[in-house]
Amino acid sequence: MIAFVIRRLVQGVLVMLVVGFIAFSLFNFVGDPVSLMLPPEATQADRQAMRENLGLDRPFYVQFTTFVANAVQGNFGISLRLGRPVSALLVERMPATLELAFIAASLALVVGIPLGVYTGLHRNSWLSRLFLAGSLIGVSLPTFLIGIFLILIFAVWLGVLPSFGRGDTVMVGAWSTGFLTTSGLRALILPSITLGLFQLTLIMRLVRSEMLEVLRTDYIKFARARGLTSRAVNFGHALKNTLVPVITITGLQLGSIIAFAIITETVFQWPGMGLLFIQAVQFADIPVMAAYLCLIGFIFVVINLVVDMLYYLVDPRLRIDRSAAGGH
């Protein structure tokens, strides 16, 4: 177990170093940071001073080490577009993205699992066919179109829900939350549906196929033969055994929810990290891009690590395979 964790940790650190190197190259080789930061009328002496000040005259590996050391402390420099420290900007925007991602993931689970169970148990009913056809359309609809159509229907035509922004937020410590006001909650509805819909169809299809598989197994037949109620069989035995893959897939999808939040946040002008990143890409705001890259890389590495370890804990077969295989 310990060897496995250490191996995964080393791999995670390596991935983070690669991501950090890409971010670092962005900083130093793409465009000259000195001319980006100084006004055009700066003299040669100013440039030289700035160069020494930033440590750009030092050898490459020293610069990279400094960059990593700064990055670990959360110091990514100053946004070229907004003129404020990047870390402060990210911390400020983080609650918006995390609240949206949390609601979207909960929605996907709370609606997706029951739909999956239903379509798995009643595989030939017309309602199941309807859900499955709907899920196919859900897969073919790009996220941004779902958002636009929802805005068109609920904000423009019916005029019942807000179409952009977070509504009123309340500061709880350093965390600005939209959960505590009605307008904040109303503003969450459309974006979270947009973000959660794809994951919802994914979870529904996953639970359905797992249910179909589990229901064929001997222990389910035995449970029925023992005369247990179908409620106990379906939910106590079958559903419980389908949840292991569901939990791991959901964990992995959490990262992609945060990535897809970029699109949802653009459509709804949601003031989160994704919107910050897209604006940074459009304005070539390199420090923000680099910091976002590192942050997303870090989130993905942590999620993968946790999911791997969960797998290891949950599935005893994996332990034997890994030690027998020796490597990977």
């Binding site: 359309i137 790009p142 941004f144 068109l152 990535a259 699109i263 653009t266 890409v281 997303i296 993905f300």
Partner: protein
């Protein structure tokens, strides 16, 4: 002629005829591709010919509504461009980017997968580790990053001319992994078969064995993957263009059209967004259905 008759009598065409949904999907796909490729002849107007544009025609609603003009079936946008013609020209850009991105991803993925599976050892471990790491990030994020980096790295005035190439590259780079994994899997099986051993015994070069002997035998599943990937690539292109980092506005794709129309959503001009959006969804849905059918039809286990 003989080949055509054999195809018409074959299993694949039989399963095609038996599925009405697939026939509809095929017709829709053909119509979309045809109207895109021949947009210059089929489209009622040329949306890029500034001489024919008239600002007085701007914001004409679709023809069947009260203020509609039968000249503009699906209405016009803010500059008086015919929405239907813009869609046809736009889907040409979308299809082109999708097609070339898939081709590039396929070529790179197949080559790396073949090498990985045939050579094995450290090369294999390295390529597959890179693939694993990339697979743990969503494709759209990788395409977005490559596009963003290229935007910073390239000189500003060449952005518009290079945008299409960058886009193709970004989408291809986010999609090669699946081909590499599939090809590697089948190559591992193929390389132990007798015909490969025979080729090795008579002294053929490993590269020749890989590409002229193994490749034809691992190509089947890759082609199915590619048909499904085109739909995904089109969605990725549309998403990037919608986010404003895709194709330049001078050469709008479906995603760009949706982005432009999105600005007029609140002033009531819904048709500028809805029709390109609906066209995109229908096209992608039809391609997905066609790909699904092809996968099932070519899968010997399901026959």
């Amino acid at each position: 002629m003989d080949a055509l008759r054999r195809f018409m009598d074959g299993d694949i065409f039989y399963s095609f005829r038996r599925s009405p949904l697939t026939i509809v999907a095929a017709v829709v796909t053909v119509v979309c591709v045809f109207s895109a490729v021949f947009a210059g002849w089929v489209a009622p107007h040329n949306p890029f010919d500034l001489k024919t544009l008239n600002l007085l025609d701007a914001f004409t609603p679709p023809a069947w509504t009260d203020r509609g003009n039968p000249n503009f079936l699906l209405g016009t946008d803010d500059q008086g461009r015919d929405v239907l013609s813009a869609i046809m020209y736009g889907s040409r850009v979308s299809l082109m980017v999708g097609f070339f991105a898939v081709m590039l991803a396929m070529v790179v993925g197949i080559a790396l997968g073949l090498v990985s599976g045939y050579v094995g050892g450290k090369v294999d471990a390295f390529i597959m580790r890179v693939a694993d790491v990339q697979l743990s990030f969503p494709a759209i994020l990788i395409a977005l990053l490559i596009d963003g980096v290229a935007r910073v790295a390239l000189p500003k005035d060449s952005h518009d001319t290079l945008a299409l190439y960058v886009l193709v590259l970004a989408i291809a780079a986010s999609g090669w992994v699946q081909y590499a994994r599939t090809v590697r899997g089948s190559t591992l099986v193929e390389r132990n078969k007798e015909y490969v051993q025979a080729a090795r015994v008579i002294g053929r070069h490993p590269v020749a064995i890989m590409f002229s002997h193994v490749l034809p035998n691992v190509l089947g599943p890759v082609l199915v993957l590619a048909t499904l990937h085109i739909a995904t690539a089109i969605i990725t292109e549309a998403t990037l263009s919608f986010l404003g980092v895709g194709v330049p506005p001078t050469q709008p794709s479906l995603g760009t059209l949706i982005r432009i129309g999105n600005d007029f959503l609140f002033s009531g001009e819904w048709w500028i967004t809805v029709f390109p959006g609906a066209w995109l969804v229908i096209m992608v849905l039809a391609m997905n259905l066609l790909g699904d059918w092809l996968r099932d039809a070519l899968n010997p286990k399901l026959r």
